[in-house]
Structures are given as C-alpha cells and as structure tokens.
C-alpha cells in the first residue's frame, strides 16, 4: 500500500488509462463478431501493453512490441482474414458441446480469482539481479543486448534456427501442390464430383485466365481486322 501511495500521480494516471485500453481491447477481441474488428482491437491491446512497458522501464521491448506485434503479426492476421474472406460468421446451429461456453467462463473466472488471491500474499522470491540490473532508461537497450548476447547467447542462436524453420515451414504449408490441382482439374470438366468445392478457387482461376486470353485474342483480332480494312480501303 505504501508503494501505491508513493506512486506519482502521472504514473497512476498512465497505468489506469493504459490498463483500461488493454482490458477494453481484450474484450473487443473476444466479443467482436467480425474478425477484422478483433484484429484491430488486438492492436489496441498491444499499444496499451507497450505503454505499460515504457512505464516499467522496458523501452526497447515497447518499441519491439509496436513494431513486431502491431506492425507485423497483426498485419499478417489481417492479410489472412482478407485472403480467406471477411464475412465468415460463426454459424453454430449444431453445437457439439453446448455446455462449453458457460463452463469455460466459470473456469476462467475461478482461475482469475485464484490468481488474484495469490497476488495478495507474500512473494516467495527475494532474489535480486541474477543477470544484471535494469539500470536507467538510457541504458535499457545496452543492458538488454548485453544480456542476450552473453548470458543467453545459446538461446539466441536457437531462436535464429527457430525463425528459419518457421519460414521454411510456412513456405511448405502455403505452397499449392501442383499434383492435386492436376488430378482434380480434369474430372471436374467431365462430371461434378462431390468434393468439387475443394478447389473451387483453383477451378475458377483457369476459367478466368482462359476468358482473359480469349478476350485478348479478340481484342488483338479486331484491331488487326481494322488495320486490314483500312489498308484495303486506303488504296
């Protein structure tokens, strides 16, 4: 309680505003019908958390939070949402587990209550500065970099391997296998299979491409004919 009283007024105001932004954004993520709105609410929460990072003397992590999370991850979410279609509401006429939602809410609130009761107790740890102090705000980047590149160097290297694996895995997952397209493309023209909607977009793309080439051919033919006519009628 003494710490709370010792907190300066601007710090307390910043905490209250940023915390309210975080909680409102989190509720928005869960409750929004449209996935795009959920993604934008997630950006709101991430900005609130970044403000709290600055408040807690983690300036580098606040910048990385905004750049990586709000700048890369949420944009990736938005790309996938737009790619898959926005208007995919959750139509749950047949709910396999009807009791899941109330049970989930009750269990979640019980867990929250437990954590809050634990937060009122004494903290068992008294360890101080195992791997270096936080330091002043001006030293944050240097101290964090020194910690990463000395104490946690092996974890950092493993992280780079993890990133390479993630990139390779994403490329392999998102690659459209040519064999499947060739197999399903041929029977679709002959007879309508039940699983034709498996590659509906792939089936429509060649049609569009063919139509485009047909149009292009006619477009090429008409000026040629016009030129021929003009050449004929010219002399």
């Amino acid at each position: 309680m003494t710490h709370t009283l010792a907190a300066t007024i601007p710090d307390a105001i910043t905490f209250v505003i940023a915390g309210a932004i975080c909680v409102l954004g989190a509720f928005g993520v869960v409750l929004a019908r449209n996935p795009v709105h959920s993604a934008l609410m997630l950006v709101m929460t991430l900005f609130g958390v970044a403000v709290l990072f600055v408040e807690e003397n983690a300036q580098f992590l606040a910048a990385v939070q905004v750049i990586v999370y709000a700048g890369a991850i949420v944009v990736l979410f938005l790309f996938v949402i737009m790619l898959l279609g926005v208007d995919q509401r959750e139509a749950i006429q047949r709910d396999p587990l009807p009791a899941q939602r109330p049970v989930a809410i009750v269990v979640g609130l019980l867990g929250l209550t437990e954590v809050l009761l634990l937060a009122r107790g004494q903290w068992p740890t008294g360890a101080k500065s195992v791997s270096g102090a936080i330091g002043s705000p001006a030293d944050n980047v240097g101290l964090l970099g020194r910690s990463i590149f000395t104490t946690y160097l092996l974890a950092f290297e493993v992280t780079s391997a993890l990133l390479v694996l993630a990139v390779v895995g994403a490329v392999v997952l998102a690659r459209r296998p040519r064999r499947v397209v060739g197999d399903n493309g041929s029977p679709q023209g002959a007879s309508s299979e039940p699983d034709d909607n498996v590659d509906g977009p792939t089936a429509s793309e060649p049609d569009g491409a063919e139509a485009g080439t047909d149009d292009g051919g006619q477009g090429d033919g008409e000026p040629a004919g016009g030129l021929a006519d003009s050449e004929v009628t010219g002399p």
């Binding site: 905490f15 995919q88 809410i105 102090a133 895995g169």
Partner: protein, 101 residues
C-alpha cells in the same frame, strides 16, 4: 516511483483470463489465435513487471524470446489455417476433427 507491481500483475491476470475464455468460447480459428496472442501478452507483462520488481534484466530477455516464438508460431499457424481453408472454406474449429491416420 511507479505503480506497485501487484497492480500490473492483476492487470496481466485479467488479460490472461480474457484471452483464455476467448480461446475456449470462440469457434473462429483466427480469433482463437488472437486470443493466444492476448495470453502471450499477459505473460509478457508479468515478465516485465517482475524484471522491474526484482531489478533483473533477465525478465526482459525472456520477453524478447517470447516475442520471437510468438512470431514464428503465428507464421506457422496462419500457414496451417490457410491450407485448411483452402481444402474446406468456412471451417470452424469444430469442423477440424479429422487429424488421425
């Protein structure tokens, strides 16, 4: 002097609970992924709070690694979601129950 650490931990617990409940009650796979991101952010806030309370830079280092793992997880997870939606458009989490064999 900043606000006491217990307030930050309380806020992190609230964020984590909202993310966990959302993960359990939503059916859209993308929104479930966003709820996982919420939970990761709550854990990050806890790490940073303890880094400040214990005056130890290792908490912030842990947040750095959590960020990297979250980025990799989102990339692979969204790749899986795209490939699932390519096979069956409009699938919710309940429709994806055939991962066997």
């Amino acid at each position: 002097m900043s606000v006491a650490a217990s307030w930050y931990l309380t806020l992190a617990a609230v964020l984590f609970t909202i993310g966990a409940i959302g993960l359990l009650i939503r059916r859209n796979v993308l929104v479930m992924f966003m709820c996982v991101e919420l939970m990761l952010n709550a854990a990050n806030l806890t790490f940073v709070t303890f880094a400040r309370r214990l005056n130890d830079i290792a908490g912030q280092t842990a947040v750095f690694f959590v960020l990297v793992v979250a980025a990799a997880e989102v990339v692979v997870g969204l790749g899986i979601i795209v490939s699932i939606y390519r096979r069956r458009p409009g699938a919710t989490a309940d429709d994806i129950h055939e991962m066997k064999g």
